[in-house]
Structure formats: structure tokens, C-alpha cells
Symmetry: C2
Subunit: 153 residues, 2 copies
């Protein structure tokens, strides 16, 4: 029974998802940390930490997907797939938490009316939060597609 679930490990859809995660996570990290004073707010530090975890994880799995596609031999081991699903899932929860915290803090900072963040810096934080949400969404999609494959093995 060799079913191909689109989006599971070793398909081109999965490679696209992983690359998307890497790009969005990196964008979120850069937009946040190129602003000067990100370390003065807890949530911004948390976002930077989580993105620092997210980028190597997504990038490694993108490499695995690329390799699987090259040698045309999809990964079909229950143990490894389980680790990937659980890892994806934990990271997606952490990413969601980071994105929500950042978004709410930015919203609050903007409400106080520019005393704590000049408009240029604020919009950069907003973009960073939006990128984190996109990264969360892609990570969730990967996790779901792999979970779908799991009972078939």
C-alpha cells in the first residue's frame, strides 16, 4: 500500500512548506532583531528565541525532503515520522504563542501612542508578528499532513 499523502515528508509539497517556514521564520527574526531594542520586552525576546529554534528545524527538514526527492526514496519509518510530527507540533504551539504575544504587545505599544515605539519601529514589529503567524500556519499544515500519514504506516 504505497499511498502518497501530498505534503507529507519526502514530497515536493512538503519541501515547499518547509522552505516557506524557513523563509517566514527568518523574515520574522530579521524584522524583529534588526530593530534596536527588541530585548527590552519579554515577548520580543521570546519570539527571537523561538524563531532561532524554528529556523534550523525547518531547514533540516527541507534538506531531508530535498534529499528524498533527489534519490526518489520517500521516508517511511514510523519512528522518524513520529518524531517529526511531535516536533512540528510542539514548535507550532510555541510559534503561535510567540506570535500572539508579540502581536498583543505591539498592539498595546501602539495604543499608548508612540511614546514607547516610534511608528517606523512599530510597523516593523507588526510585520515580524505577521511573519510569525504565517510561519505558524505552515508549520501546522506540515504537522497535520504528517499526522494524516501516520496511521497508514
Amino acid at each position: 500500500m504505497e499511498e502518497e499523502v501530498p505534503g507529507s515528508v519526502g514530497t515536493s509539497a512538503s519541501l515547499a512548506l518547509r522552505l516557506g517556514q524557513t523563509v517566514f521564520s527568518s523574515a520574522s527574526l530579521l524584522f524583529m532583531s534588526l530593530g534596536v531594542q527588541f530585548y527590552s520586552y519579554t515577548s520580543f525576546c521570546y519570539l527571537v528565541t523561538i524563531m532561532g529554534l524554528n529556523i534550523p528545524w525547518s531547514f533540516t527538514l527541507a534538506l531531508v525532503d530535498g534529499y528524498s526527492l533527489l534519490v526518489k526514496c520517500p521516508l517511511r519509518q514510523r519512528g522518524i515520522l513520529m518524531i517529526i510530527v511531535i516536533g512540528d507540533w510542539i514548535l507550532s504551539i510555541l510559534t503561535l504563542a510567540a506570535a500572539c504575544s508579540t502581536a498583543s504587545v505591539v498592539d498595546l505599544l501602539m495604543q499608548t501612542g508612540g511614546a514607547y515605539c516610534p511608528p517606523k519601529l512599530c510597523s516593523r514589529y507588526q510585520v515580524s508578528a505577521a511573519m510569525a503567524f504565517l510561519s505558524w500556519f505552515l508549520s501546522l499544515a506540515s504537522s497535520l499532513f504528517n499526522l494524516w500519514l501516520l496511521p497508514a504506516l
Copy 2:
């Protein structure tokens, strides 16, 4: 094949989980909304909204569990279980988002040093966020237990 997954719909563990969710959600809502000015911050309004969704959902499912236990006839319909799993899952994501936003906003308010929230009000917001996290955790557990049962049907 009549396996009993502990924590799935219609078991006493599930009833306990649902009651816990209802209690923690209500506590979170009360701690937040008995404070006077919760509507002046977006995240606090969001928390109140989500808890207002969470309480009836958990309470209804607690009633379903209680009924199933009384008539000793567990719910074993794939469609209904699917709705419960998806509903639980969406609500747990929303609850996590609300809890994180509230926690980060409270943290920021405390950092600014009591100008925006007096210590008594701040600690009440903190308790509310903690209750929301507990409610999220129980909701996630319910969702996972029910998901576990799903392939067996």
C-alpha cells in the same frame, strides 16, 4: 472491538476534564471581568470573548459525558466524534492565543511600573491568564484523547 480509551467521550476521565475546563474558564472570565477596565485592552477583550465561547462548549460536553455515564452507553459515532475533536482543537488554539496575549500584556503592564495597573489589579490579571493556560491544557488533553479514539472507529 470495544476498547475504552481513557479520557475519550463518555468516560469519567473525560467528564473530569470537561468539568475542569468549565471551572478554569469561568475562573479566568470572572477574574478578568470583575476587574473594572478590561475593555480598554484588546487582548483582555479577546480573552473574555474566547472564554465566553469556551464555557458553553465545555459545559455542554460535560453534560453529554454525564449522560453517557448514566445510561452506560458511550458515544461511538464517527461524525459526532470528528466534530468534537475539531471543535476542541480550534477552541484550544484560540484559548492558547488568548492566554498568551493576556500574559504578555500583563507582563508589559507590570514592567511599566504600576502607572497603567495598580498591583492589586495586575495580580488579578495574572491569575486570569494562568487559569486560561490551565483551561488550554485540559482542552488540549481532551482533544488528543478523542483524536486517539478516532482511527479505531
